[in-house]
Amino acid sequence: MESGTQNKTNKIQNVSPSGAGASKYWWKILAVILLLYTIIKGFLGPVPAQPILHESIRNLYFHVPMWFSMMVILFVSVWHSIKYLSKSTIESDIVATQAAHTGMLLGALGLITGSIWAKYTWGAWWVADTKLNGAAITMLIYLAYFVLRGSIDEEQKRARIAAVYNIFAYVMLIVFLMILPRMSDSLHPGNGGNPGFNKYDLDSNMRTVFYPAVLGWILLATWIFTLRVRLEKLKRKTLLND
């Protein structure tokens, strides 16, 4: 997302390392503060007493932000894929790939935590639900993105085909996660005839934790993703030097 400007700030930082440094990592500090707040108030703060959910309602602070940050990071990915198609700079390709990798990590965590939550509220690790199956299919679509990348050797060709596929993958993600679950009944809150998400999200106590949690997780995901991008760029640079 900010990789273009990051290079510029890197060069500025080399000139004056003390001044540009602090302005660069303030959001990492914010991420840590927000998530520490989430952990502490998320476990100790008051929550509404709901049947079936009981204390597991606190999962809202951890399971849901995984998906939110996955969608944000994958949007960054598709954004850079579009950028690659218009400008053909290999840097956009690197950013798109690494963002997709980070998105998959978050998606996997979202699936696992959702499965655990389902076991103790719905009574099964997995139910054939539109939302759940949609999430699983989305993951498979993105896995195919990596398979596709791995199968093409030529760099420019690989980047171009992968970028086109990535646009398709993000559209499918929206269809499977946002549209189809809303068109049918679902056990999962926020879908079909079960708008449960609003019910507990309306609780103002939970909102004071949930929104900072979402922002915190998105920032942490961005941190991991930028680390991946920087590492990949270093790898390519050293390969070129050799």
């Binding site: 840590v32 476990f43 007493a49 009981h54 204390e55 941190w223 680390l227 920087r230």
Partner: protein, 72 residues
């Protein structure tokens, strides 16, 4: 007879109205009572700061490498 009936209704009415309230949803009250939940929260906070510390170390290592390679 009538009096007894109204008396009974008056007695039972609040019970009928507040019957729903008595459906108690079980929450982890015991966990909060003993105060040991704070131990769990502290442990989680420590693990999280550990992971963040790890991220910071990786971040610094990458920064160092970036500087070295940019010098070349």
């Amino acid at each position: 007879m009538k009096n007894i009936l109204t008396f009974l209704i008056l007695i039972l009415l609040p019970k009928l109205i507040f019957a729903q309230e008595s459906q108690h949803v079980e929450m982890a009250e015991g966990l909060f009572q003993s105060g040991k939940i704070y131990v769990v929260v502290t442990v989680l906070a420590v693990i999280f700061t550990g992971i963040v510390g790890y991220l910071i170390v990786i971040d610094r290592k990458i920064s160092k490498l970036e500087k070295e390679i940019n010098k070349k």
